[in-house]
Amino acid sequence: MQNNNNKIKFLVPLVSVLLGLLIGGIIMLVSDYDPFEAYVALFQGIIGGPYFIGETIRQMSPLILAGLAVAFAFRTGLFNIGVEGQLLVGWLASVYVGVFVDAPAIIHIPLAILAAGVAGALWGAIPGILKAKFKVHEVITTIMMNYIALYSTNEIIRQFMLAPGERTKTIKETASLSSPFLQKITDYSTLHYGIIVALIAAVIMWFILWRTTLGFELRAVGFNQHASQYAGINVSKNIVLSMAISGVFAGIAGSMEGLGTYQYMTINAAFTGVGFDGIAVALLGANSAIGVVLGAALFGGLKIGALNMQSIAGVPTELVGVVIALIIFFVACSYIVHWLMNRVNKGGKI
């Protein structure tokens, strides 16, 4: 049974991706694009050469962290649609430290990332507290907090940090995650050290959930609050904690943009969308740490590849959105596969 489940764990996403691409190809055919040219370009754009690999990895970092944020909250039975907002405040905090603090890189970078984490934690804790104390549904509060974050960060930039080009000043070198070395070996992609931060975060998430008493409590609360309470677990505390930690991941995702990809923060006319992509990534990854990393690779890869697909084969990038959606659908429908496997299984056993 066990190894069978593992088999399925890998089989389902694989089949899903293939089916998604297949249907995407059909859509291209009927809307007279050349699927083969398109997909060649797509994969070129994901792994075709150091530059593209660099871009794909770069794209992954914030997605991994956003995905971890969503997944972590899910584990405690909370739906954090607020990653977007937590990401924005984290982005701002990291840039603030990056611009206004003077310190050697060894201190400056961790400090900026920490700031992002703290900001995200606070932003996430608010819905947590509201849920724990007033039983307010976190889905509403997190949505509202997104808008509050968007408008507040813009205003703060405008008031205190404005530089030409509707953005903050660029952060100091000492706070930057970008690496001439990485850029050189990936001939001038925007790859930066953020990916390392993201991967560490993934390990931490896994560790907290599965190796610590805290994780034990969080999961228990996620499954059955009554039993947790009976077992002396402080449910309210864990709800707040879960949202706060989720917020830390989201905030650090923001620092990926602030210290890595952009090196500054722009006045955002709309949401970045990374927060919402995070939901998809988490769900693709079945809310597990490794899953999220793989999900981010798939998601980020496709999004980056789409640019090349547009550039070479002239297929609108939106089509990749469709393909991604289809893949998610098929992953979600893994029930069929499981069911089939069970049938097979049972035949074998009895």
Binding site: T212, T213, F223, N224, A227, A231, N234, I350
Partner: protein, 508 residues
């Protein structure tokens, strides 16, 4: 002779298990037919097949002599088969009437005609003496009434054959008496009944014939009048079972739990426990007898720290545990077998192993400054699983997949193993088969003999009378009498539980 129901060679499989293996069941018109078997034997499954919820892999079903294919409750209903499920099938947020008419609603110009529906319900409930309040919300009514609603549902659909799956497991003695009346009335009206119960006394009392199944296989059908509890039990378990709990006389020592003038409000903010005094000593089992809803649950929640205490005090040995957090209380030396095993007792989606350390995961050796240590955890789990004979594939199986009986064993293993000074056992044997019950009772007594104080709360009078050394009768939030089980009778207890005064023993 023709049967109203005939199930021939039914086979039903679930992933990994054969729940029903070539079972045959024949029910005569106008009889009450008992279905007996251990937890997980396959009773509910068989009945769900008959009711069209499950489709059998093999076998045939005949109703009134005609072969039927019913793979849908609709068909079952139309065939006059009705089922009162083990776990009630009621929508809490709906009113009694809405629940009864659901799916077969009388309408007036497209609108549900609740008025006439309520009338109809009232009529039915009068006809069979099934007291219900048609307009009450199900979430607000007693378990007993909920069950009466379930019965009315089947009657409203004109059921001729009624299936009761463990109806008495959740009832108080009074309610059980009523239910038995009702069942007798139903058969006298020409209806036929299949009754699942683990209580052999009831079978002897009301049933005409009894079919026994063990581990999914049919063992046979016997006439109840020429059989007795012991023979039935033996038939079910496959070995001799002795009921009268073997226990020596208790020698109580210093007092462990002391409750003074306790007042606790229920969720509607009215006092459910109202000036209660109770004292439990080491080495004795105090049984609380009382009709459901006289403050038992609130009392337990107050002791365990799950509910706020508004007045009075509780001491465990010499430490004050009034309004302490659950974690605090348990650490002071309390263990608690909760009455709702699925809601409080277990995290059903956790593995059996994780559930085994639900109370101790944060302590050494199971964790070390915040980091879980899995080898000790699963060592412990496996030890308990064998020691308490919890039937599970392994310690990694989710608790959900265990039968209620085994789930209960797991909880008891966890709680008793912590070796506390004071053990609370609430409805510890509800819904369990005699084998499991026997096991659990012996464990409780073992604790007593180890010099622990045990508080037993149960609606099963004979459980109270067999296991306790002292019976405290609870009525309207207070202990109205403390009696010696050896010097009292069910009648007397019943009277006290109903609030009646008593001549002999002294109230408080």
């Amino acid at each position: 002779m023709e049967y109203v129901i005939e199930m021939r060679n039914i086979r039903k499989e679930f992933p990994g298990i054969v729940a029903n293996d070539d079972i045959t069941l024949q029910v005569k018109k106008g009889e009450i037919h008992a279905l007996l078997g251990e937890n997980g034997a396959g009773k509910s499954t068989l009945m769900n097949v008959l009711f069209g919820l499950y489709e059998p892999e093999e076998g045939e079903i005949y109703v009134k002599g005609n072969k039927v294919v019913n793979n849908d409750p609709n068909i079952a209903n139309s065939l006059g088969i009705g089922m009162v499920h083990q776990h009630f099938m009621l929508v809490d947020k709906f009113t009694v009437t809405e629940n009864i008419i659901l799916g077969k609603e009388p309408t007036k110009s497209g609108k549900v005609d609740l008025k006439s529906a309520a009338k109809e319900v009232q009529a039915l409930s009068d006809q069979y003496g099934l007291r219900v309040d048609p307009y009450a919300k199900v979430e607000d009514i007693s378990v007993g009434m909920q069950q009466r609603v379930e019965i009315l549902k089947t009657l409203y659909r004109g059921a001729e054959i009624l299936i009761f799956d463990e109806p008495t497991a959740v009832l108080t003695p009074q309610e059980i008496v009523e239910l038995i009346q009702i069942m007798k009335k139903l058969v006298s009206e020409g209806k036929s009944i299949i009754l699942i119960t683990h209580k052999l006394k009831e079978i002897i009392e009301v049933c005409d014939r009894c079919t026994v199944i063990r581990r999914g296989k049919g063992i046979g059908t016997v006439d109840v009048k020429d059989s007795n509890p012991d023979s039935l039990a033996a038939m079910m378990v496959g070995r001799e079972v002795n009921f009268t709990v073997a226990k020596g006389i208790a020698d109580p020592k210093e007092s462990v739990l002391t409750i003074k003038d306790l007042v606790v409000l229920d969720s509607r903010k009215v006092p459910a426990v109202n000036g209660l005094n109770l004292n439990i000593r080491a080495g004795e089992i105090v049984g609380i007898a009382g009709v459901d809803g006289n403050g038992q649950s609130e009392l337990l929640e107050a002791i365990t720290g799950l509910r706020k205490i508004s007045e009075g005090s509780i001491h465990l040995r010499d430490s004050d545990i009034t309004n302490k957090t659950p974690r605090n209380v348990t650490r002071t030396g309390l263990a608690h077998i909760p009455q709702d095993r699925h809601k409080h007792g277990l995290v059903l989606d956790f593995s059996v192993g994780e559930n085994m350390v639900l109370q101790t995961y944060y302590e050494k050796p199971f964790s070390n400054n915040g980091i879980l240590k899995f080898s000790p955890i699963f060592e412990k789990a496996n030890k308990l699983i064998t020691e308490y004979d919890v039937r599970t594939p392994d310690a990694h199986t989710p608790a959900r997949a265990l039968s209620g009986g085994n789930q209960q064993k797991a909880i008891i293993a966890r709680e008793v193993d912590r070796d506390p000074d004071f053990l609370i056992a609430a409805q510890p044997t509800r819904g369990l088969d005699v084998g499991a019950i026997e096991f659990i009772h012996s464990k409780l007594i073992e604790q007593r003999d180890k010099g622990k104080a045990v508080l037993l709360v149960s609606f099963e009078l004979d459980e109270i009378m067999n296991v306790s050394d002292k019976i405290a009768v609870m009525y309207e939030g207070r202990i109205v009498a403390e009696v010696d089980p050896k010097q009292t009778t069910e009648q007397e207890l019943g009277l006290l539980m109903a609030g009646g005064k008593r001549g002999t023993a002294d109230a408080e």
